[in-house]
Amino acid sequence: MTHRSRQLRVSALARIEGEGALRVVIDGGQVSDVQLQIYEPPRFFEAFLRGRQYTEVTDITSRICGICPVAYQASAWNAIESACGAAVGEPVAALRRLLYCGEWVSSHALHIYLLHAPDFLGYPDVIAMAADHRDLVERGLRLKKAGNAILEAVGGRAIHPVNTRLGGFYRAPAAAELAALAEQLRRALDDALATVAWVAGFDFPDVELDCELLAARDPGRYAIERGQIASAGGLSFPAAAFAEHVTEHQVPYSTALHATLDGRRYLTGPLARYTISSAQLSPVARQAAAAAGLGPACRNPFRSIVVRAVEIVYAIGEALAIIGSYERPGPSFADVPPVAGTGHGVSEAPRGLLYHRYELDAAGRVAAADIVPPTSQNQAAIEADLAAVVSAHLDLGDAELTALCERVIRNYDPCISCAAHFLDLRVERR
């Protein structure tokens, strides 16, 4: 305790989804500890799901997060339908992809405009930004609304969709209902392209992550609602092999489990998706990415805002393509009779790879559930990034260092409502 000892407390780490806490310890001029402390609802839901009928699962898991409920439904469909040996037809699969595109647009627009852009433009929050840049905030809200319009048309409402079920949908929308949506989406595509051009002009610190990147991969297209799992380093395996490669372990300061990929730290999310599948983007999205200065890979977490903007362009184009070739499916869902067994499923939540595993008995009761959200997979990589950033900026005062840590965390858009609660930030200098 001979070192200078200082402690800084910030009441809230602003502008991330949910709640959590960060503790940074600087001891003798070196970063000795970084702990992202999060408390995790999925663990509660896993217990809550045991004993429930397999048909109830997706209505329950969609409640884990108000920002990405479709992701929690989709990974569960994939896992349970796989356990039961059921397959949905292509028209239902296309509707699911359309629904998921709506969630990507809505979630990414929220993060870019309401949470992340104020960092680059020097505002404390979107309310202050709206006072000077009302047109920009309006554009963000229009984009979010376009995403919500997809969710409402296909899912029945914007949060916690109620029209979805195991095997498909209670009711497939009429072609005319989706055609009405297309006009709004064509205007949204212009907003999305303008968004890419806008964020491309931000000032990005020169940072490269060296950890492994992990995402779903879907041959021939950019993975969203399903896929195999792939890493930037060349790994490729099915969802069923997730537990052979990804190991979760507890840390004492957080209820979210830390994860490693074959023993190494890794990251999921937009940077991983883009680096693994940028060649699968549509021509218009690829062109927007190139004009924004993105190469085939992106490992700079500050540029994740550009990748999200490109993904909005892609998702709107994909939604328009699905609507353009839409034919209302005959039966709106496939029968999924219960089968005793275990099923695994993944999908690409806006924040990254979301893995679900369910064990069912012969009557379709859930015997065990395992949910691994992207934010807990990313926790170790975020901590490592924070440690590097703090080490490189020890000369900054506590206030500036705290602000920088907050920016670093927001780069990852952590959905701590999926993985934690209130965020309280503390820097200790000893």
């Binding site: 809230a12 502008r15 989804e17 920002i67 309401l114 949470l115 929050d125 309006e138 809200l141």
Partner: protein, 178 residues
């Protein structure tokens, strides 16, 4: 919950919260109860409190009634606080006025979830997307832990809450009015 009426709604009721976080579910529970009793022209919705969704729900509607759970330093679970603000053109509410009414910015905005009703209101004011009048019913919570049941104290206040909210919406049915 309900789709907006074809005619412009004269009022919207927004129940904020998560039904899987015990007393945080008071907003959705109230919305579900009101859904059955609301008259035409009243849109009923539940929300996780995400600000742009609140703006969409209440923008330009003459009356918005919001129900949410709050934690108080000296708690009296089940107690109902009512705050009303006139926001129509010509009755502009200054940030100081909103703060005086208990809707000022409190702690720093924490998240889209932590960006609560006060922050959504400030954003709505910056973008001219407020309702004409905003009435907030805040219910003091006892327990925001995981679980799907309201605490006894908060469950017990539900009939009173339904009565005052219906009165606010002007839709109290004969015989069940205040």
């Amino acid at each position: 919950m309900s789709r907006p009426d074809a005619v412009a709604p004269r009022a919207v009721l927004i129940g904020i919260g998560s039904p899987y976080r015990r007393d945080d579910g008071i907003g959705p529970a109230l919305a579900a109860a009101i859904q059955r009793a609301a008259s035409p022209g009243v849109t009923v919705t539940d929300s996780d409190g995400e600000p742009s969704a609140l703006l969409d729900a209440w923008s330009g509607v003459p009356l918005a009634v919001v129900v949410d759970a709050v934690l108080c330093a000296v708690p009296e679970p089940g107690r109902i606080h009512r705050t009303a603000l006139d926001l129509a053109p010509g009755s502009a509410v200054s940030p100081a006025g909103a703060a005086a009414a208990g809707l000022g910015a409190g702690a720093a905005a924490a998240s889209t979830h932590g960006l609560g009703v006060p922050d959504a209101l400030r954003l709505a004011q910056a973008l001219d997307r407020t309702p004409g009048r905003l009435v907030v019913f805040a219910v003091e919570a006892a327990d925001l832990g995981f679980g799907s049941a309201l605490s006894p104290a908060v469950a017990a206040c539900l009939p009173d809450l339904i009565r005052v909210v219906l009165a606010e919406l002007g839709t109290a049915a004969a015989g069940s009015g205040p």
